[in-house]
């Protein structure tokens, strides 16, 4: 039975319905309420108690079980009252001074504790945010360039193959580059992180396919204007900030020669929202653009003859293609786009990827 409970807890935690951090927070809250801790109220209680005790009564009680005792006590009290009042007056002054100091210290401590709480909250927020942000900068989903391989290759091939090399960012292990090269296109790739080569020796693959490690923005910035025959932007657009996306498009417009192809493969925001944990969606630096936004950005950057193609959600079976899901929306140069999609490899999920592609116009 306990094993079943442990498994249940594991599943609930994996689903985010049971949160170890919440339990730790509760422990922390209760610990702070225990005696001797900062929020136990013990200081306030003690201060109140001391305040009450500082009031000293000079009138000594005279009650007695003996009838004569009451009288004797009363006489004694009256006889020494002048002395008692003198002493009590001084003690009262003394205790009141001490209480005043204690109250001032309490106020100052309250201020310090207040700022500490604020500081602690900030530190906790930053500490809590660090591991989550690490997840955000490396989202596990990407647009699927492999779905549009033939469309992109056809578009590039229909232009001049001598216009320059074609860059694929982000190239991963080089499958797309390999495919383009097989079509006679001088393609090379760049990726911001090292991707394991499932086909074998990574070093050999890098050398043969010309795969490079680095930032696509840095790489494009270093190229001569008009030096590229085309650019295929893959997964990078799914995690870059909006500013970086804009910069990327402006660079593509400058670095790709006239007539060259600029293709963007992204993920539909709706699919992205569905597949990502909410906290990641909210904090993500790569909030994805809708295809219309890319079209607008490309158009404003001087890239025309725009084509939009999207692949629907679902499972794509190897070799079966996903023609039905390909829905050319724009009539512009639609003939340049192959309607047939044949993703390499086995079945894999399609995150409603889309392709927006155009040519550099003068």
């Amino acid at each position: 039975m306990l094993d079943q409970l442990r498994e249940e807890v594991r599943l609930q935690r994996a689903a985010g319905r049971m949160d170890v951090l919440y339990e730790r927070w509760m422990d922390h809250v209760f610990a702070r309420l225990a005696p001797g801790s900062s929020e136990a109220g013990s200081f306030d209680d003690a201060l109140e108690e001391a305040e009450g005790a500082s009031m000293i009564d000079a009138e000594v009680p005279v009650s007695s079980r003996l009838p004569a005792g009451r009288f004797v006590k009363r006489v004694l009290r009256k006889a020494i009252s002048w002395y008692m009042r003198f002493v009590v007056q001084q003690v009262r002054q003394s205790t009141q001074s001490i209480m005043r100091v204690l109250h001032m210290m309490d106020e100052r401590l309250g201020g310090v504790e207040g700022s500490m709480v604020d500081l602690s909250a900030r530190v906790e927020a930053i500490a809590a945010g660090v591991p989550r942000m690490a997840t955000v900068v490396s989202p596990p989903w990407r647009g699927r360039p492999d779905l549009f391989l033939d469309a992109v290759a056809d578009a590039i091939s229909s232009g001049s193959l001598d216009a320059g090399r074609v860059l694929h960012a982000e190239c991963g292990a080089g499958e797309i580059v390999s495919h383009l090269r097989a079509r006679g296109i001088d393609a090379y790739g760049i990726d911001s992180s090292w991707v394991p080569d499932v086909t074998g020796d990574h070093a050999v693959t890098e050398e043969v396919l010309d795969l490079r490690l680095g930032s696509v923005i840095d790489h494009l910035s270093g190229l001569a204007d008009g030096g590229l025959g085309g650019v295929l932007l893959g997964g990078c657009v799914d995690w870059m900030t909006a500013d970086e996306d804009l910069q990327l498009i402006r660079l593509c417009a400058r670095k790709v020669s006239t007539g060259g192809v600029v293709a963007v493969v992204g993920t539909q925001p709706s699919a992205w929202w569905r597949s990502a944990p909410r906290i990641v969606v909210d904090l993500a630096r790569g909030r994805p653009f809708h295809p219309e936004t890319w079209e607008e950005l490309l158009r404003k950057s001087g890239i025309g003859s725009l084509v939009f193609v999207e692949a629907g959600a679902g499972e794509v079976e190897a070799g079966a293609g996903d023609a039905a899901a390909m829905k050319p929306r724009s009539g512009l140069d639609a003939e340049e786009v192959s309607a047939v999609v044949e993703p390499p490899g086995g079945a894999s999920p399609v995150l409603e990827s889309f392709l927006v592609m155009g040519r550099i116009v003068v």
């Binding site: 039975m1 306990l2 079943q4 409970l5 442990r6 249940e8 807890v9 609930q12 935690r13 319905r17 049971m18 949160d19 170890v20 919440y22 339990e23 509760m26 422990d27 809250v29 209760f30 309420l33 225990a34 005696p35 001797g36 929020e39 136990a40 109220g41």
Partner: protein
């Protein structure tokens, strides 16, 4: 001899049952106390009324559960000594919250050790307690259950309380119940934590009822603030002490009995829950596993609020498990019948004292 003889107290009731048992068996038996409550003071006599010169065959059965001057007085008595140990809460669980009570229980532990040498037989009401006796140096020990009649739990449920709880239940949500002192060693705050997790994960309308009088004021105040801090004011009810009829209503309207105690020498409320056919979920601390047996779900230590909440969910939602636990409650309860307990207790006493003739 009992330090404090109180009517609505498990050890007070036990003492009355023991006296009756011994008298029925042919022994002359009286209760002597240091303090008593008004409802039972006439059923015994003060320690000062004890015979100055006891007979050669007289025995003294001391009910040990806390430090008391009564234990000091034992050294001046010449009777053969039996100790009936009901457990003493470790001071470490109380000293942070109620230092004065912690001093008393620490003193109780010292007295327990001091009495070991002259005690002919020490009777514990659980194997867990017997282990503590042996650790304290008692050579001759035995286990005999605390004497109480589970049928006495059968008070008629107070209709007004049933109606009020029924109104709450009509809005949905499970009802979790704990009965015991509001005290640090009963760890009600761990029940509040488990409730918080349970509400977030399974049942946002679930409620927790804590029935019992407070021990001191520090822990109850912290518990109250904790409940407020977790936003559970409307979900946790701290009732204070209740009448038997009101308590029966709470048992009748609960879905599960929950126990997060760090220390229990026996835990009578677990048996009370069995009487009401109420399955329990409890952390496996101290004597709880021994008392509960298979009449509930034991959650292993260290404490884990998520695991506990999952256990509560299982007991509430798994019909087959729930039915089997309720059936186990019935069979387990039989082992606590007064007749059986009296028989065991008498056998143990006879083994030391001999027959009355």
């Amino acid at each position: 001899m009992i330090p404090t003889f109180a009517g609505r107290d498990a050890i007070g009731s036990h003492s009355l049952e023991v006296r009756q048992l011994l008298r029925d068996a042919g022994y002359a038996s009286n209760i002597y106390y240091l303090n008593s409550t008004a409802d039972v003071s006439g059923l015994g006599a003060g320690i000062s009324a004890m015979p100055a010169k006891p007979g050669r065959d007289d025995w003294l059965l001391y009910q040990l559960s806390i430090g008391s001057p009564a234990a000091e007085m034992l050294s001046s008595r010449s009777e053969s000594l039996l100790v009936n140990y009901h457990n003493i809460t470790p001071a470490s669980l109380l000293e942070q919250w109620e230092p004065a009570v912690a001093v008393e229980v620490a003193e109780g532990r010292q007295q327990m050790q001091a009495l070991a040498a002259r005690t002919k037989l020490a009777v514990a009401d659980s194997a867990f307690n017997e282990g503590e006796l042996q650790e304290a140096g008692y050579g001759s020990t035995a286990v005999a259950p605390i004497l109480f009649d589970p049928r006495s739990f059968g008070a008629r449920a107070d209709p007004a309380t049933v109606e009020r709880l029924g109104e709450m239940r009509s809005h949905g949500g499970a009802d979790l119940l704990f009965v015991g002192k509001i005290s640090p060693h009963k760890a009600e705050h761990d029940l509040v934590k488990a409730l918080a997790v349970y509400r977030r994960t399974y049942d946002p309308r679930a409620r927790l009822h804590l029935v019992g009088s407070p021990l001191g004021s520090t822990y109850p105040r912290a518990l109250d603030r904790f409940i407020a801090r977790l936003g559970l004011r409307g979900a946790v009810e701290v009732t204070g002490s209740l009448t038997g009829e009101q308590l029966a209503a709470y048992y009748a309207c609960a879905d599960v009995f929950v126990c997060a105690s760090d220390h229990e020498g026996f835990c009578v409320p677990l048996v009370e829950a069995m009487h009401h056919g109420l399955p329990a979920v409890a952390y496996a601390a101290a004597a709880v596993p021994e008392t509960l047996g298979d009449a509930g779900l034991l959650v292993e230590l260290p404490k884990d609020a998520s695991l506990f909440a999952a256990g509560v969910h299982k007991v509430i939602s798994d019909g087959a498990l729930r039915s089997s636990l309720i059936e186990n409650c019935r069979t387990r309860l039989e082992s606590y019948s007064l007749e059986r307990a009296r028989e065991t207790f008498l056998d143990v006493v006879r083994s030391a004292v001999g027959d009355p003739w």
